[in-house]
C-alpha cells in the first residue's frame, strides 16, 4: 500500500500541471457545490422564518363595539389556518403607516383617517398564500369588516425561488460532479499517456493489473481527496469576508458538509480515474 501510494504520488507529480488543474477543478467544483448547498439551506431557513410572518389585515368599520370585535376574533380563532391575532387601534395604525411610508404623507393630514384592524398571522405550513386568501374571503362580508388586505405574501415567490434554486442546484451539482470526474479522468489519461512506455514495461516485468490499477487509480482518488479538502477550507476562509456582505446567507461549512465534500471528491476522483484507466489499459495493452 505504502508503495502504491508512493508511485501514485510520483504519478501525480509526473502529470504536472494536469494534476494541479485537476485538483483545482475538483476544488472549485466542490466549492461551488458547497456554496449552492449553503444557499439552498439558508434559503430554506429564511423561508421558514418568513412563514411565521404571513399576515392579513382586517380593517374594522368605525365605531364597531368591542363585543362584536371579540365575536369576530373568536370566529377567526376557530379556523385552523389562523396562527395568532393582534388588535391594532387607529393610533397604532398611524404609527405604523408613518414608519412604513415616510414622514411627509400622514403628518400632512388634518385628522387620523386610518381604521383600526385585526392582524391575523397565518399558521406556518404548506401553501400559505392560499390559506391566507381563504381566511380573508371568510370574513370579507362580515358586518364589522370595512375591508381586508392580504398584503404582499412574498413567501410565495421566495418558495418559488428556492424551488428553482434547488433544481438548478441539482442540475449544476450533477454537472459539477461530472466536471470533477472528468478532470481526474483527463489527468489520469495524461498520466497514462505520459507513462505509456513505463506501462508497457510494467506489464512485461510482471506487474499485476491490480498494481497498475492502483498506481494510476489511487492517484485519481488522491487528487479528489485533496480537491475535496480544499473546498470547505476555502469556504471557511471566505466566510468572514462574506458574512459582512451577505449576512443573511452564511457560507461557513458545517462539519458534515466539509466531510461530505471530502468524501465526494475522493469518490469522484476514484470513479474518474477508473473510467479513464479502463479504456486506456484496453487501448494500450
Amino acid at each position: 500500500m505504502n508503495l502504491v501510494l508512493r508511485e501514485a504520488l510520483q504519478g501525480v507529480r509526473h502529470t504536472g500541471i494536469a494534476g494541479v488543474i485537476s485538483v483545482a477543478t475538483i476544488g472549485a467544483s466542490l466549492l461551488a457545490l458547497g456554496f449552492l448547498w449553503q444557499v439552498i439551506e439558508s434559503g430554506n431557513a429564511l423561508a421558514n422564518r418568513l412563514r411565521a410572518r404571513v399576515e392579513i389585515d382586517i380593517y374594522l368599520k368605525d365605531g364597531v363595539s368591542s363585543q362584536r370585535i371579540l365575536a369576530l376574533r373568536r370566529r377567526l380563532e376557530a379556523r385552523p389556518e389562523v396562527g395568532g391575532i393582534a388588535y391594532m387601534d387607529q393610533e397604532a395604525a398611524a404609527k405604523e403607516f408613518r414608519s412604513r411610508f415616510g414622514l411627509g404623507t400622514v403628518d400632512a393630514l388634518s385628522s387620523n383617517p386610518l381604521p383600526a384592524s385585526l392582524r391575523v398571522r397565518i399558521s406556518p405550513g404548506e401553501n400559505m398564500p392560499r390559506r391566507a386568501r381563504s381566511v380573508a374571503r371568510s370574513v370579507a362580508s362580515h358586518s364589522a369588516v370595512e375591508g381586508v388586505n392580504v398584503g404582499e405574501v412574498w413567501v410565495d415567490s421566495l418558495e418559488h425561488f428556492i424551488e428553482v434554486t434547488t433544481r438548478i442546484g441539482l442540475a449544476l451539482g450533477c454537472m459539477l460532479c461530472f466536471a470533477c470526474a472528468y478532470a481526474v479522468s483527463h489527468a489520469t489519461k495524461l498520466m497514462v499517456l505520459a507513462q505509456r512506455d513505463a506501462l508497457e514495461i510494467m506489464r512485461l516485468v510482471g506487474a499485476t493489473n491490480t498494481t497498475v490499477w492502483m498506481i494510476f487509480g489511487v492517484g485519481g482518488a488522491l487528487q479528489g481527496f485533496v480537491g475535496g479538502f480544499l473546498a470547505p477550507l476555502m469556504m471557511a476562509y471566505i466566510s468572514p469576508w462574506w458574512a459582512v456582505r451577505v449576512p443573511d446567507l452564511t457560507v461557513t461549512p458545517t462539519i458534515e458538509l466539509a466531510f461530505g465534500l471530502v468524501v465526494l471528491g475522493t469518490v469522484l476522483g476514484a470513479i474518474g480515474s477508473w473510467a479513464s484507466l479502463n479504456r486506456m489499459l484496453r487501448e494500450i495493452a
Binding site: 508503495l3 508511485e7 512506455d197 514495461i201 510494467m202 512485461l204 516485468v205 510482471g206 493489473n209 498494481t211
Partner: protein, 226 residues
Amino acid sequence: MQLYIMPVIKLQNVRVEQRGQPILLNVNTEINQGEFVYLTGHTEAKKRALFRLIIFEDLPSSGVVSVGEYDSQQIRKTDIPQLRRQVGVVFQDFKLLHHRTVSENVAFALEVTGVSRRRIKRKTQAILSDVDLLHKRNAYPDDLSAYERLRVAIARALVNDPLVLLADEPAAHLDSEATEQVMAIFQKINVRGITVIIATHDTAIEDRYSRRILQLENEVIEQIAN
C-alpha cells in the same frame, strides 16, 4: 552430457498465426532448468515471435506452451504477471525508459512487483555492480553507449531473480572482445542456476561455444548441437 532436473520450458506442436498468416508452424522443444541454450536463426526467422510465446505475450493458435508451473491452456489471465516475474527478458531494442536513470530503470522492475524500498535499493546496487555499471547509475540511457545500455537491460532482467533469462541478440552492437565479456556474464548467471536462452543470428556460433543450439528455420525448430 549434463543432467537436468526438469523441463522449465516446453513447446508442443506449437503453431502461431497472426491475422491469418502463419508465423510459426510446428514447434516442439524442451528446455530444462539450468540449461544454457542458443536460439539461432537468420534475420526474420521469427526469433522474437518465439520469445513472445515464452512470456505469454502471444498465445499459440494451437499446441501448448508451458513455462514453469504454467501452461498456455490452463493459465488464468491474473497468473501471467506471476509468470513474467520468473522470466527476465533482454529485449532486442532494450526497452529502457529514456526519462529515468540507469538505477531507476533497474529499480522499476522491482517497484512494480511490490518489493520493499530498502530491498529495492540493496538489490539494485548489487545487480548494477554485477554488470559493472555502478559508476553510471545516475546517467540516462541516451547518454550511454550501446554496450552500456545492454548491461542495464541485463540488470533489469535479472533483478527480479527469474528462473529463466531470455536475451534477444545481446551481442548485436558488440565487438568480439565485448561479446566475450557479455557471454561471461551470462555464464555467471547460468552457474547460479538460471536457465539462459540467447537469440542470435550468428549461425556460426557452434564453432565457438559448445552449447545446445536450437535453430529456427522455415518456421520450425531444429536442434543442431548439444
